[in-house]
Symmetry: C2
Amino acid sequence: MTLCSSDSILHPSQLILFAMDLKQIAKDTAKTLVSYLTYQSVRTVIAQLSETDPPQAFWLQSFSSREKIQDGEAYLKALFQERQDLAFRILTVREHLAEEIADVLPEMLRTSIQQANMDQRRRQLERMTQLDLSVPSVNPEQEPNSEEIG
Amino acid sequence: MTLCSSDSILHPSQLILFAMDLKQIAKDTAKTLVSYLTYQSVRTVIAQLSETDPPQAFWLQSFSSREKIQDGEAYLKALFQERQDLAFRILTVREHLAEEIADVLPEMLRTSIQQANMDQRRRQLERMTQLDLSVPSVNPEQEPNSEEIG
């Protein structure tokens, strides 16, 4: 169910471009996921350490606010130079994380996109309805010379 | 094959914490994916428009450098206020993109994480080997009083 389908806007030539880029987009998406799971692994390890070894948790927290965590591989490279044990631990955690969530991702992604699109369409419909209500509607049976007023 | 397994570092209590957070991490990852695919959809639509309607491509490019695209939903909300047609088109493209790549994501994620971990472990092994080579090894048969020199 879509409030407004824009499929008709897509020209066949555009769909070809789309297919050509698809492999690269999938590859870039996987890379983004790896970086995101590295960030989640760092958070996980900090949470674990704060239970078992607060000074270590504090150290990793400080290190992670200094080093850019947006690029997971560069972050890990820097961590290996300072605390090899924590770096190895983060590698282990991110591999576990990936294993655990990989199979639920397709379904979660589809559901999330559909939900987000539905929310956007609903919000826009509401907005358009409010605009219609706030602007006094022009009665089509009205005399066209009403345009001349003003 | 791991050069250094850090599994042994994980305490059972930490694995419980891990499992508790897993659902939230999966949810947050899906949200990140939706935002990333929104960004890729904007790029795709700009590429399509640059073939068919360069002024529109230029407009969307400018809009996208003004509005923060990191938060996909906020970006779309802003776009709906200015160019409803382009916003609807991006919704369509991101849903297509998600459909197309969803099923390959688990395998790509696993492969990417394993590859990235192998690269990090190999790099660290090389680094440790170089450190060993650059620091003159102390010959265990040497006289201990060599420390006194200097």
